[in-house]
Amino acid sequence: MNPIFAILAGVTVGAAVAAMALRNLVHSVLCLTVSLVGLALLYLRLGAEFAGFVQILVYVGAVAILIMFAVLLTRGGEAPPGRIANAPWSGLAVAAAVFAMIAWAIARSPALRGMAKDPAQPPLSVKAIGDKLTGDLVLPLQVVALLLTAALVGGVVIAMSEKETE
């Protein structure tokens, strides 16, 4: 295994574990950010520059900040007292079982064995992505645009609704 990959994967997974295990919510979200950046770097290693940078732009620039705001708005800045998990062992067991299942599937998959070890870098030009988005995928693009608008409006409405009645 490539050492750079090992480091990246380790950081990504470790930060993910920390994100799920830490008590303080803000720390959790910061760890999540680290994990997402690690993922973006993994994308870069896989040659998907565009996806990697979009990942950073959207997740670090927007989603992480959004979650931070939500944490602060729900007074989650302090470490919560009391339990942080519900019946952790059974949940962990189920998650472990799921992992075992997927890992087993990966390990036994005949399709993977047929794949090339390290295929040549496929061309990934932003122009091609743009053509694709405005060509074949124009309808999904519109739908996503609509969805984002709806989410925007919905988010505002949900977050505001109770205030009026109070």
Partner: protein
């Protein structure tokens, strides 16, 4: 010629641009907004005139001028969705009418809305409406037509609810929106079906359009439920939409309520243009309605198909229904609204019995005089400081002479006074066609009765508004609560000029479709070159003319006699037949009927589902827990009996079962998810296991 149709989009684009710019303006920019709206629509009128001129000279042997320009909108998988513009006499005539009447109404609004704080917004909405309406007219694609149709609905919703501070206005807007949506559901289904059946929504596409021979023949050939031809089913569904928009009988309830909007809106939307959209739609898809096994309807010959029969009957019933209800109303705009319902019925009837030319001519004529009447009513209301009850007006003839004169022209046109008023000729044509309709004579009789009623209620209204001695001093001085308000006054020139132009147009229209020189028929039918001045009508025409003249005269005479003799305050008819009058005033209880049936049904259904939720599902869920508890209770009983301490174990087990069962019901998403996760793993393992074997 092709250039014209290629650039037909300019006509709707102009008001749309104006609407967009006005939307950016701020409240104080009143002049800019009005100038933009009127200017853009005036420009659109000019362009429409150019387009109209283009349709006057068909190429030799081509018959009707029918220019199309189609283009791809976007690709949808393998198929391409294409839109297009269509220019034919139907479109051109409507374009000129809408832009002309619309411009006049815009000008009128400048005066009428002068004191409204939301003047700018009003013109923005008006422009949006005009844009959508014009877009609807130039569409060569049912989908684009539908889109514009919906925008028209939206604009009408906005305009009816323009004074949304008034709860009635808000309710009326909602009602109009919801009611027309019911019709639109039919429209939408019909459209989808049409697309399914023909694979295109373009009307005319060099032989491949959905209104052309090939497509219609295939639709006629297929049958659906009960042996009905698919074309008939689609036609009826589309007619649902038209009925909703045009206020035909089961769906007419929104139209009178829509009078809560500002009067120019009533004139624009509910007299001249929007309600005409339904009639226009029926005229547009007439080939589909008229399609029978024999093929497309030929010019001048109207086939008897099931779809057209439905249109005719609905139209006739609406015509009489509207007129009847109008007799008993006392709100000046509401009378006109029911009159509109009635006249729309005539149009539909005309379409059903006489084809597009007949129906459309009544539409155009009606647009002018009804706009005139509404604007006149607006002028009256404006002059009386917001008073709308005709019983509290009276004697306005002297106070507002200009309004009186123009209103009288409109009223005579609507009532169908003979010879120089367009209403006479257009109604007469419908009646004539109805007379010739072979399946039944009843529509003719209904139409005649409607003509009588029309004259009756219009005279009643005229008398109350302009002639009656004013019993209430307050009526002279506007509203009760403002005794010191100025006396009724005539409206400013910006309003009366519009009225005068419309009055002139109303009279001028009458020249276009007399039996002596039936230019309009020739124009729509595409045989202008065969047109000549001369009498070549049969005796039936004369007979119809005579009959309708008699009906009008009768209505006028009866009404005048009843009302001019009666004391003011109460209604003459009310004293004669109070119960009938009450029923009519209550709009024949249709609204009440809906309230009692549809709404109550809806609420009952909601209650029922609530009950089912609460008791059936709730008790099912509850009983699971109950059973579990029952088990544990049983276990405890046994334990209490103390027969055997070994029962302790069984009891605990039972209790555990109960707890386990209740675990599924505790509302903890995470537990549910765990089960889901575990279940997936289990299923995968199971599948893999069995698969290996």
């Amino acid at each position: 010629m092709d250039r014209i149709v290629e650039h037909l989009w300019i006509i709707p684009a102009l008001p749309l641009l104006a609407a967009g710019i006005i939307a950016l303006l701020k409240r104080p920019h009143r002049k800019a907004a009005a100038a933009l709206a009127i200017g853009s629509l005036g420009l659109a009128f000019l362009v429409s005139c150019v387009a109209f001129a283009a349709t006057l000279h068909p190429a030799a042997g081509a018959g009707t001028v029918r220019l199309t320009h189609n283009f791809a909108w976007f690709d949808l998988g393998e198929s391409t969705l294409r839109l297009g513009w269509l220019l034919d006499p139907l479109t051109a005539g409507m374009l000129v009418m809408v832009t002309f009447v619309g411009s006049l109404i815009f000008v009128f609004s400048v005066g009428y809305m002068a004191h409204d704080p939301n003047f700018t917004r009003f013109f923005g909405f008006l422009s949006l409406f005009a844009a959508a309406m014009l877009g609807l007219l130039v569409a060569n694609n049912l989908l684009f037509l539908f889109m514009c149709w919906e925008v028209v609905g939206l604009a009408s919703y906005l305009l009816i609810g323009f004074w949304f501070q008034k709860p009635e206005a808000a309710a009326a807007a909602k009602k109009a929106f919801v009611t027309t949506r019911i019709g639109d559901l039919g429209f939408f289904l019909g459209m989808v079906w049409l697309y399914h059946g023909t694979g295109t929504l373009l009307f005319y596409d060099k032989g491949a359009g959905c209104l052309e021979q090939g497509a219609i023949a295939s639709l006629v050939a297929q049958t659906t439920l009960g042996g009905m031809a698919v074309s008939t089913a689609i036609s009826l569904l589309l007619f649902c939409g038209a009925a909703g928009k045009s206020g035909q009988v089961p769906l007419h309830v929104w139209l009178p309520d829509a009078m809560e909007g500002p009067t120019p809106v009533s004139a624009l939307i509910h007299a001249a243009t929007m309600v005409a959209a339904g009639v226009f739609l029926v005229a547009r898809v007439f080939p589909l309605l008229g399609a029978s096994a024999a093929g497309l309807p030929a010019d001048g010959h109207v086939p008897h198909t099931a779809a057209l029969a439905v249109v005719t009957w609905i139209g006739a019933i609406t015509a009489v229904f509207g007129a009847l209800v109008a007799v008993a109303q006392s709100d000046i705009k509401r009378i006109l609204a029911y009159s509109t319902v009635s006249q729309l019925g005539y149009m539909m009837m005309g379409l059903g019995v006489g084809g597009p030319a007949v129906g459309m001519f009544h539409l155009l004529a009606h647009a002018f005089f009804k706009a005139l009447l509404f604007l006149g009513a607006g002028s009256v209301i404006h002059g009386c400081h917001g008073e709308q009850d005709i019983r509290r007006m009276g004697g306005l003839r002297k106070a507002m002479p200009a309004t009186f004169a123009t209103y009288a022209v409109g009223m005579m046109a609507l009532a169908g006074f003979p010879l120089v008023f367009s209403g006479f000729w257009s109604k007469d044509e419908i009646l004539h066609a109805a007379l010739a309709w072979s399946p039944s004579r009843l529509p003719f009789a209904l139409g005649l009765f409607g003509a009588f009623l029309t004259a009756f209620y219009m005279i009643r209204q005229m008398w109350f508004v302009f002639f009656a001695p004013s019993a209430h001093p307050a009526a002279r001085h506007g509203h009760d609560t403002r005794p010191d308000a100025a006396a009724p006054h005539d409206s400013p020139p910006v309003m009366t000029v519009s009225l005068a132009i419309l009055a002139g147009a109303t009279v001028a229209m009458s020249l276009l479709a007399t039996p002596v020189w039936p230019w309009f028929h020739a124009y729509l039918g595409g045989h202008l070159d065969h047109l000549h001045v001369g009498w070549d009508a049969d005796g039936a025409v004369l007979a119809t003319m005579a009959l309708s003249t008699v009906a009008v005269a009768l209505g006028t005479g009866v009404s005048w006699r009843l009302y001019s003799r009666s004391a003011t305050g109460t209604d003459a008819v009310e004293r004669l037949v109070p119960r009938l009058f009450g029923a009519l005033r209550g709009r024949l209880y249709v609204d009440g009927f809906y309230a009692a049936t549809v709404f109550r049904l809806n609420r009952a259904a909601a209650t029922a589902f609530d009950w089912i939720d609460r008791f059936v599902w709730g008790s099912l869920a509850g009983s699971t827990a109950w059973i579990a508890t029952g088990f544990s209770w049983l276990g405890r009983l046994l334990d209490d009996a103390g027969i055997n301490p070994g029962f302790d174990a069984g009891c605990a087990g039972t209790r555990g079962t109960g707890r386990l069962v209740s675990l599924f019901q505790n509302g903890q998403t995470q537990r549910y998810l765990r089960l889901v996760g575990g279940g997936i793993v289990a299923i995968v393992v199971a599948v893999a296991w069995t698969g290996k074997k």
